[in-house]
């Protein structure tokens, strides 16, 4: 084999027909990422060695940044299961051009969330009790099982992509495995869609069942409070555009076009449709909450907001600026195909679902229930930011490696000719 010394020294590992930056440039980037990772690792060490007291959490805010982070990334990672569902089960073929990225993003979101959970539980060495001594009545049990299983599914979906690495794939066995995996993908996509729907729902259900917390308690359907369905819908209404945003950021960083606009627009259309459905229900839910659940608990709408930090602006922002507005922008073809408006809508959409997960977690715990109790505020400290940044760094690392060495984007060669 002739060697072209103009190519980066690891060029043999690049996806077929793709160009990449020099190894040294890549290593500089990786060093930056690893520095952030190291900070998070230190935070994680302190938390595990000394206890959760080093965080900003307290007895009022047992859940804080980490749970918000987990819920948000799990919602945003929903692009994976929903795109998979559409691609493999409903056979929307064009989605094959972005399916790899949705799988990686999904995998990162879920595995990252699980890493954070290791820090977030007080006794990580006993965390396996969740499987062994499972309480079937707890929504959290459903979450634990579904997230674990779905994370395994994502690994299974991610593996063939790794096996398709140019050099690895030369091995016949590897090639055969990768191929067979692909054939089985509809099965896993189906399982994934099932598991993911359930745990997205269970995450919402986790809050809705807290019947003594009027801020988040919701009546429901059968064993599930409404939040179960709202979480599923909000996740599928934001996950796809999050993948698009990740893709676009990668495009900006690499200076290449990786996915064609049509695909992005399609993802936007999917998310927009789901978001619209979600917003209809969410608005109805909010109305019913303010007019039924709150007064039933002896509370008024005004009473569950406080100052600036837990002000009504959060609700209005979530519902309208980051809910109704992006839904409209994404669902109307003309605005959707305006790139600026499209990206604005996508960003607002993701912010909206993050606000939702934040208020459901933090504001819900801040809102006093006993009349003589007080509003308390919560601010995450360095340890929580550090550990969250570690997950971001971890994601950046995996994405960088995947992009550099794996055939993630089928359109890349064609689009960059």
């Amino acid at each position: 084999m002739d060697k072209n010394y103009d190519l980066p020294i690891d060029a043999a590992l690049f996806p077929e027909g793709c160009t990449r930056c020099s190894l040294s440039k890549f290593l500089v980037w990786i060093t930056i990422v690893m520095a952030v990772f190291g900070w998070g690792l230190y935070a994680a060490y302190r938390v595990l060695a000394e206890g959760l007291g080093v965080t900003g959490l307290d007895d009022y805010f047992g859940f804080g940044l980490w749970i918000t982070f987990d819920l948000a990334v799990i919602a945003l990672g929903a692009g994976a299961f929903f795109t998979g569902l559409l691609r493999y089960i409903l056979n929307i073929d064009p989605l094959k051009n972005i399916i790899n990225l949705t799988v990686i993003v999904g995998f990162l979101c879920y595995s990252g969330a699980m890493l954070v959970l290791v820090l977030d539980v007080g006794q990580p060495l006993r965390a396996w009790f969740g499987y062994w001594h499972a309480n079937v009545h707890s929504m959290l049990t459903e979450v634990i099982f579904c997230i674990t299983c779905y994370c395994l599914v994502l690994v299974i979906e991610y593996v063939p992509l790794i096996l398709e690495q140019k050099q690895l794939n030369r091995n016949k066995l590897v090639h055969a495995i990768a191929h067979n995996f692909h054939l089985m993908m509809p099965l896993f996509a189906g399982i994934g869609a099932f598991l993911s729907t359930f745990h997205q729902g269970s995450l919402g259900g986790m809050y809705g069942v807290l019947f003594a917390r009027p801020y988040i308690a919701r009546d429901g359907f059968f064993i599930w409070p409404w939040t179960f369905f709202l979480y599923v819908l909000s996740a599928v209404g934001s996950g796809p555009v999050f993948t698009v945003l990740v893709c676009t950021i990668m495009e900006k960083m690499t200076g290449k076009q990786l996915v064609s606009w049509e695909i992005k627009s399609l993802m936007g259309k999917i998310a927009g449709t789901m978001l619209t459905v979600y917003m209809v229900f969410k608005l109805a839910d909010t109305w019913a909450w303010a007019n039924d659940i709150l007064p039933r608990s002896g509370l008024t709408f005004d009473q569950v907001f406080y100052g600036w930090i837990y002000g009504k602006w959060l609700l209005w922002a979530e519902l309208f600026a980051c809910g109704v507005l992006p839904a409209i922008l994404l669902i109307i073809p003309s605005t959707r195909n305006n790139r600026t408006l499209f990206y604005t809508a996508a960003i607002l959409d993701c912010i909206g679902v993050t606000i939702n997960r934040y208020v459901m977690t933090v504001q819900a715990l801040a809102a006093p229930v006993m009349p003589f109790d007080t509003w308390e505020t919560y601010a995450p400290n360095w340890a929580e930011w550090g550990a969250s940044a570690m997950i971001m760094a971890y994601a950046a690392l995996i994405l960088s490696l995947s992009y550099r060495y794996l055939p993630v984007f089928p359109q890349e060669v064609k689009l960059n000719k």
Binding site: F63, G122, M139
Partner: protein, 255 residues
Amino acid sequence: MSSFKEFKIKWGMAIDLDKCTGCGACMVACQAENNIAPQPDASNKLKSLNWLVVYELTNGKSFPEHEVAYLPRPCMQCGKPSCVSVCPVIATDKNEEGGIVSQVYPRCIGCRYCMASCPYHARYFNWFDPTWPEGMDKTLTPDVSVRPRGVVEKCSFCHHRFMQAKDKARVEGRDPNALNDGDYITSCTEACPNGAIVFGDVNNPAHKVHELVKSKYAFRLLERLGTDPQVYYLSRREWVRRLGDNYLENEKVKG
């Protein structure tokens, strides 16, 4: 949601808020009895671990119409606890005769879901390992295990005293399931010089608390949420009773 058991015995408290001066003896007696570690700086009340906390209540009026009351808040041992069904590992349950909500520390994984569910803030997390000044750990009682960091704990109604009372009854040849009024009382009940807390079996007519909870002045915290607490409060002051639950402006308080 799971169903909740009914019990023949129902340990409960009737706390007369008109008798509590807020002196804090119950809080100290609780810590000593239940091997709760002291904290050099406990000014962050959101991170100081005390199973029993005395809240300060105000009628909200300006001087001189102002009134103050103190409300000791143990675990409510809810009849329909919001914390039990959410626990993913069955570390907390309400399955024993007497209706005390158990918390099993070696089972708890520290997910804090139960804390999120409890509107009374009765549950506490061990943010750090507990430490005592040198030698003070020798004053730990043998009755309650010391909790490591990373687990949730809460008031147990001094459950070990229940077990001790039953054992004493057994040795004396009495029926351990028919304890007399006063055979089993909690450390805070015992410590309060004002007798603000009366403890006993709410279901047993021979126990004083049985009548007290029927008083027209009796109320429970956040009754309308449906948690069905086993801790009752009493106050002849209407404004105090009104602070027991959230009332809309036009709603009347009972009693």
